[in-house]
């Protein structure tokens, strides 16, 4: 099992700020420490927002990818 495996996927397509960060927080809350969350968003603002969110909450943003029209994030729950 690679470290960047996906344990939970959350689709925030069609949602605008601040829903992606709120849904992400909710999902992380339900997960085990060390698990990875994949979050998909169509909100261009999610790129800077997820970076800020992970710095503030100190969960690891492992991947952050612009897929052209949608954005994909991989976050490890650290605590």
């Amino acid at each position: 099992m690679s470290d960047n495996s996906i344990d939970v996927t959350l689709d925030c397509s069609g949602m605008l700020c601040p829903m992606p960060v709120i849904k992400t927080k909710r999902a992380i809350k339900e997960m085990e420490i060390g698990q990875n969350l994949e979050m998909i968003s169509t909100d261009p603002g999610a790129m800077p927002d997820m970076a800020a969110w992970s710095r503030q909450t100190k969960h690891d943003l492992l991947e952050s990818e612009d897929q052209g029209g949608s954005y994909r994030f991989l976050i490890k729950k650290t605590h």
């Binding site: 949602m15 605008l16 601040p18 829903m19 960060v21 709120i22 927080k25 909100d43 909450t57």
Partner: protein
């Protein structure tokens, strides 16, 4: 020097009850709570009705001359047209306020923006403290039972004590 591991705090004053002004405090509060910040919102003057069970906030073009008037339907080009509606119409035609409110609600829903009510529910779920201003309640004739159960009551000193220690304080 600030301790990087301490819980950050956001102190907000919500003083406006129209639909457009109702959004910023709830957006900031819910986003901050989602970042594990401790958040308190102090609702005063026209912000106080945002604590009522059912939020019936409207938006008016009166006093908001830069408000874009756009249609929530039709082609992308049609939707991007900013309809030039003179103040003499928007401020004087009966019912224009409910038209503007309806258009804003439809547009927001279509674009994927949560309603003010939904954002407030999420703030409650994430334990954002909401304080109703006792003085405004007395002046405008509100009772604590008019508000959601989550609401607390306080005055200027209650807010200032929290704000004194907050990382971010904003008056909306």
């Amino acid at each position: 020097m600030k301790d990087e591991n301490r819980v950050r705090k956001l102190a907000l004053i919500s003083s406006q009850g129209t639909l457009d002004w109702a959004y910023p405090p709830f957006i900031l509060a819910s986003a901050a709570a989602a970042m594990d910040w401790e958040v308190k919102i102090f609702f005063t003057f026209y912000g106080l009705p945002l604590l009522k069970e059912k939020i019936d906030a409207n938006v008016s073009p009166a006093g908001n001359p830069a408000m874009p008037m756009k249609m929530p339907f039709g082609s992308k080009g049609f939707q991007s047209i900013n309809w030039p509606i003179p103040n003499v119409i928007s401020n004087n035609i009966p019912g224009f306020e409910s038209v503007a409110t309806g258009l804003m609600k439809k547009t927001f829903k279509k674009k994927g923006v949560a309603t003010v009510q939904e954002l407030r529910d999420m703030c409650v779920e994430m334990d954002v403290t909401m304080i109703g201003c006792q003085m405004t309640m007395d002046v405008f004739g509100f009772d604590k039972k008019d508000f959601i159960e989550h609401a607390e009551i306080g005055g200027a000193a209650t807010f200032l004590e929290f704000a004194a220690d907050a990382d971010v304080s904003l008056f909306v």
